[in-house]
Symmetry: C2
Subunit: 342 residues, 2 copies
């Protein structure tokens, strides 16, 4: 602690309580070895003096820091923020502290941050790899024997992973549109080829193929509202215009809703729009957005639980927790005409 002049140590407490350092240490770790009466006596002194445990010293000797890292590619994306909240919740319950860092989709910063976490002696790391991360990161983590869990995205099938079943989610959403009678459907949004993109696209393609429809109306765009607005033109002004658009995520879908009303068109009537993620705003857009819920908080919790297990048992078999997604039908796909608000 930043050169605090006279920090209390175990020895001070021990002396004051009339026991040895070792005993105080046992009390701190609530070991069953110490007698109830001494535990109470020591605890009283501990509180009285306002003793603060020194984890640097502890982790040095015990080679465990009760700290884990979380690396996300963009905190300002509410999706990752929500994931972080889930991770934090589980770790807090377990009494571990969380090192959070944002790679900003930069592989270089990601590299720096991982090193820093190793230096700080983190017991493990939950990592949502930045775009462009190569497989060898996973091999290195392995070689370093650094416990890790991949979340949301994965760059290698090795190791633990927590995520949502994007492929089936997208498949179901596409199926829903096809049932509503759509035949020409566009897949809109996403520019980088990471696992999360691949899975969603594959779900779309698989479903279209299964129904004998062409899955080649795929539009790559940045993941912003603006891009969604701009995409409206590309979707409608085509020799063979689409009647429905299924978006990579809700943000792009919101953009499309805006783009449609700017042109005086009505979402769900002139073009069915479906999003992905079910962010908080989805039920409050006009019209409310049909989307696929992917529960980032939940995924964060699962990732944290996986990591705790991996730390406890470094050699156990890898696990992949893949949460089911849920199609949330609202008005933007045209299914609930009556519920639509003028």
């Amino acid at each position: 602690m930043a050169g605090r002049p006279d920090r209390l140590t175990l020895a001070d407490v021990a002396e004051r309580a009339g026991v040895s350092r070792a005993t105080v240490s046992l009390v701190l770790r609530s070991s069953p070895l110490v007698a109830e009466s001494t535990r109470i006596k020591v605890q009283r002194i501990l509180d009285e003096l306002g003793y603060v445990y020194n984890r640097s010293a502890a982790s040095m000797r015990a080679s465990r820091s009760r700290t884990v890292g979380l690396l996300v590619p963009g905190l300002s994306n509410p999706f990752f923020a929500e994931l972080a909240a889930g991770v934090d919740q589980i770790l807090d319950e377990a009494g571990l502290a969380l090192f959070l860092a944002d790679s900003n989709e930069s592989v270089a910063k990601q590299e720096r941050v991982i090193l820093r976490m190793r230096e700080h002696g983190a017991d493990g790391i939950i990592i949502c790899p930045a775009v462009g991360t190569t497989k060898d990161l996973i091999s290195r983590l392995d070689a370093w024997k650094f416990p890790f869990v991949q979340a949301l995205r994965h760059i290698s099938p090795q190791g633990d992973y927590a995520g949502a079943d994007y492929e089936i989610g997208m498949d179901r959403a596409t199926e829903h549109l096809i049932r509503l009678g759509h035949r020409r459907i566009a897949f809109v949004g996403g520019e980088h080829m990471h696992s999360a993109y691949r899975e969603r696209r594959d779900g779309f393609v698989a479903c279209m193929r299964r129904h004998g429809l062409s899955p080649d109306f795929i539009l790559k765009t940045p993941l912003t509202r603006q891009a969604g607005m701009d995409a409206v033109a590309a979707v409608l002004e085509q020799d063979e215009a689409a009647t429905a658009a299924i978006c990579f995520n809700d943000v792009v879908a919101f953009g499309m809703l805006l783009g449609l009303s700017d042109r005086g068109l009505e979402p769900g009537v002139d073009l069915a729009v479906v999003g992905f993620d079910d962010v908080a705003e989805a039920s409050l857009s006009r019209p409310p957005l049909t989307t696929v819920a992917t529960l980032p908080n939940q995924i964060g919790q699962d990732a944290a639980r996986l990591l705790l297990r991996r730390i406890a048992d470094p050699h156990g078999l890898p696990e992949r927790v893949i949460l089911p997604t849920r199609l949330v039908v609202r008005a933007s796909c045209g299914a609930l005409r009556s519920q639509r608000v003028a």
Copy 2:
């Protein structure tokens, strides 16, 4: 590091390089004391062996951890996420690691987290106090000699602080509405009495008073879209209905925009609406939202810089960085009729 079996130490590197531990240590800290030739030789071995610095050991001896904490009351609020991104950026440049925690507006969790950060030997903390935090927290931080900076909210005028000038921002926004001819203006949103609330409300009240208008149309609501939607009724269905509403933040304002269009009313015509924060979506709502930009990323950067200074000089005079806000006039206030989109 989680019981890694055979972690390399300074001694290993020293032996391999044919120098003493002390010399290697100096190289690691890039001390000017070591000769260029030895620095190069040692650095080569360091890279070759893939040595990883052990910060636990270092901070124990040096009583500095090159780590700071950031405590926010709700990561899933994009505003705080953005703040965190700003903090992270500055700290990363300075080579410090960030401990991030979310108090979820719970004083109890906040207390737990602060203790954890002290235990981990954080060099300081940036804290955005949870609702209900009492002044004595600040006194305790002081007594512990734990360097801190308050951000966005403050519970005590003591100590460093980084925030935006909410009061003037709200004053200017109110002034803008009055200039547009409004006389009956409602202040909508906010339920907890923290500094951020008080300052915004005071700005509104001061401006109304200055113009001889009544500032008592104040509606407390949760800070959600839903609450904003619901507030529309309360604002319009009053014996003396308001012609303009100025919201605690953009989220509430978005809700009001939705509430208005649900009733077939036009924001900016039937009711002028102004938000606060200028979140990313503000320019993309329909109509685009007039709001006050408060630059959370910037504030995060300033908070981080303040903390770095405070750590370097624990006894320097306290500083308060108060960033100016900027009124961003779009269509929702009715000022830009021509720009409004049908």
